[in-house]
């Protein structure tokens, strides 16, 4: 934790740089989605746009969490506490998606249509 005034002064520079990166990341996200030369994968929205967009967002979120929210030098207890939340959300989103992707219905049931 940057607690002394000198350290904080140094940190302010970092905050500015991170802010700049966040701006650029946002612009990049929009370009990927709307500007044809930046379009990855097939024309229009497809899984590659999704992966790229979410990757940029995750990088931005990581920057906010680690620099602005000081997670890069936080106490161990915070990692445990917040980490438990992250684990739980992965379990929620992952397992529901898994359940959605594995329905019991198959062509056998639907062949009548």
């Amino acid at each position: 934790m940057a607690d002394s005034p000198e350290e904080i002064k140094k940190a302010v520079r970092t905050y500015l740089i991170v802010g700049g990166i966040l701006f650029l990341g946002t612009i990049l996200t929009v370009l990927v989605a709307t500007y044809p030369p930046f379009d990855v994968g097939a024309h229009g929205f497809d899984k590659w746009d999704c992966i790229l967009g979410l990757t940029i967002a995750t990088i931005k979120a990581t920057l906010v969490a680690s620099i602005f929210m000081h997670l890069n030098h936080e106490k161990k207890a915070i990692y445990w506490l917040f980490g438990s939340g992250i684990c739980a959300v992965i379990s929620l989103a992952g397992l529901t998606a898994l359940a959605l992707g594995d329905p019991i219905f198959d062509k056998f049931f639907y062949s009548g249509h």
Binding site: K9, F23, T26, H43, V64, I86, A88, A93, L100, G101
Partner: protein, 529 residues
């Protein structure tokens, strides 16, 4: 008694209390938004209709992202200033942060407002029309309802001759509306026939509770309700007592038998009980004299020719009038859903579109579609160079930008500069572009499959969009309130215990960063995917 570790961190954990608490709270917030994002994934992957891809205006969302990122930087600066004991700088940075929150909410409000005034309708054949509904006009002045509001041309009109209210369930505001509407149209709502009932035990002949011709009023309905409920309680008590008596007799007559073996023979002696019972008045009928046209919101009425029913149980007798849905300005035509249904049935998309009701009945749609097909040919050729194909949305949807381009190419109104910029926020500019770009269209009621504003009701995409952004907006408001509290009422604490205030600002800032962090995901997921 002093609770320790409010300001100074505990040695072994290295944390002060509120730091732990805020991170726990954020973990819980992660789960809350995690629930919504899981719902988004679930709804999108499981959607049985064409998911509206990249459908929101990007510019306001983009600006809002910049605003939130900027405020995230300033809030951390504000905290740093406090740590360095620079009150003035803290005020400036915190002021900017709160101002950013304000801009964010204003932009959000504009975005919401545009949606809530934009109408969509899914026809029975699954083609979709979007636009702006007209108002009922008398000459060039809008007709106002009894409350002074303009009347949107999406109502169901019934030439009403008789109204039958449920005395318990009637909805008071609707009764008031009937009354003022009738007065407005010089009609009277009066009791159709005498209401007669036995209201006291032992009464020989029914007494006249109300005479035919008595005017409708809420007090009157309340009076009948009271009589009805009293009779209901009275009769209930007698019937219960009678049934109890019957069971005592039945048990005595059938020793050792189970209830279910003798239940069919245990009945109340209705004849013996009848003299003691009162009359319940569950409904009361009024005639409308002369018959008058009342309007109803489509969601409130189950309409049918002859007899319609309102949601509160009121029965409306009368002739159903033509109640078209009138678009003052049509600004999009969408065949995506129709094509999806057609393909599922093995029908060629183009055939299905040509056979759709809109193509058969609207010259404008025919003309626009012809133009669109030519555009698509061009686009296909362009994309073929890169071995690519147009998207489903490009192929089968004519958005307002397409319609505007078409009109411009064919010599319609052109707008530019500030007007064009404004369109990015407020949507199509009907006044400047005029009726040749966004024409009027009247859709007969029987063609309406499902209609809604661009509200949560329109489809699950808008539902999740409004829920996530609305909840996020509430977080922005909450965070801004807390931060402005530190800004405006923090001076005293700054002078007595600046470290404590710095801690508090850090906690508030952590929450603010989290709000920003959620938006970092919300923006691409809801605006760009």
């Amino acid at each position: 008694m002093e609770i320790p570790y409010i300001v100074t961190p505990r040695k072994d954990t290295g944390l002060f209390n509120s730091k732990i608490a805020i991170w726990l709270f954020l973990a819980s917030e992660v789960m809350l938004f995690g629930g919504f994002f899981s719902a988004y994934v679930f709804l999108r992957l499981g959607a049985d209709y064409p998911w509206p891809e990249r459908t929101l205006p990007v510019l306001p969302g983009l600006i809002n992202t910049f605003v939130l990122i900027g405020s995230s930087v300033t809030v951390v600066f504000a905290w740093a200033s406090l740590k360095m004991r620079q009150w003035r700088k803290f005020q400036i940075f915190m002021g900017i942060t709160v101002f950013c929150a304000l801009i964010f909410m204003v932009l959000k409000a504009i975005e919401y407002n545009v949606k809530f005034h934009h109408q969509a309708v899914r026809l029975s054949d699954y083609s979709i029309m979007e636009g702006h509904l007209g108002f009922e006009m008398a000459g060039d002045k809008p007709v106002l309802d009894h409350k002074g509001n303009k009347i949107e041309e999406n109502l169901i009109y019934v030439e009403t001759s008789k109204l039958t209210f449920n005395t318990v369930r009637f909805h008071k505001p609707w009764v008031e509306e009937f009354l003022t509407e009738a007065e407005h149209k010089n009609s009277k709502i009066v009791l159709a026939a005498d209401v007669t009932a036995i209201t006291k035990e032992g009464q020989k002949a029914p007494e006249i509770v109300a005479k035919a011709g008595e005017a409708l009023s809420i007090e009157f309905l309340n009076r009948l309700q009271k009589i009805h409920l009293a009779a209901r309680s009275h009769n209930g008590a007698y019937r219960t007592a009678a049934l109890r008596g019957e069971w005592v007799k039945a048990h005595a007559a059938n020793p050792g038998k189970r209830d279910w073996q003798i239940a069919s023979g245990v009945n109340i002696d209705v004849k013996a009980l009848a003299p003691k019972l009162l009359d319940e008045i569950s409904t009361v009928a009024f005639k409308v004299d002369p018959p008058t046209s009342f309007d109803f919101h489509p969601r409130d009425i189950k309409e049918a020719d002859g007899q319609s029913t309102l949601r509160d149980g009121t029965v409306v007798d009368g002739k159903l009038e033509a109640s078209p849905m009138v678009f003052h300005h049509v600004d999009a035509i969408d065949f995506q859903y129709l094509v999806m249904k057609a393909v599922a049935k093995g029908i060629d998309p183009e055939v299905a579109i040509q056979n759709s009701w809109l193509m058969k009945n609207s010259p404008f749609v025919q003309q626009a579609w012809k133009w669109h097909l030519a555009e698509m040919d061009k686009l296909k050729k362009e994309l073929a160079v890169h071995h690519r194909e147009p998207t489903h949305k490009e192929l089968y949807r004519l958005g307002w930008k397409d319609l505007a381009r078409m009109a411009e190419e064919e010599g319609g109104a052109k707008i530019s500069g500030a007007d064009q910029f404004k369109e990015e926020f407020f949507g199509p500019n009907y006044e400047a572009r005029g009726a040749e770009t966004f024409p009027e269209f009247s859709l007969p009621r029987e063609q309406v499959g499902f209609a809604a504003k661009f509200s949560p009701a329109w489809n699950t995409y808008y539902a999740i969009y409004f829920t996530i952004t609305g909840l996020h907006g509430l977080h922005v408001i909450g965070g801004a309130l807390v931060l402005s509290y530190y800004l405006f009422f923090g001076k005293k604490m700054y002078l007595t215990n600046p470290e404590w205030l710095a801690n508090r600002v850090e906690i508030g800032g952590l929450f603010w960063h989290f709000v920003d962090l959620v938006w970092i995901f919300v923006f691409p997921i809801l605006y760009l995917m």
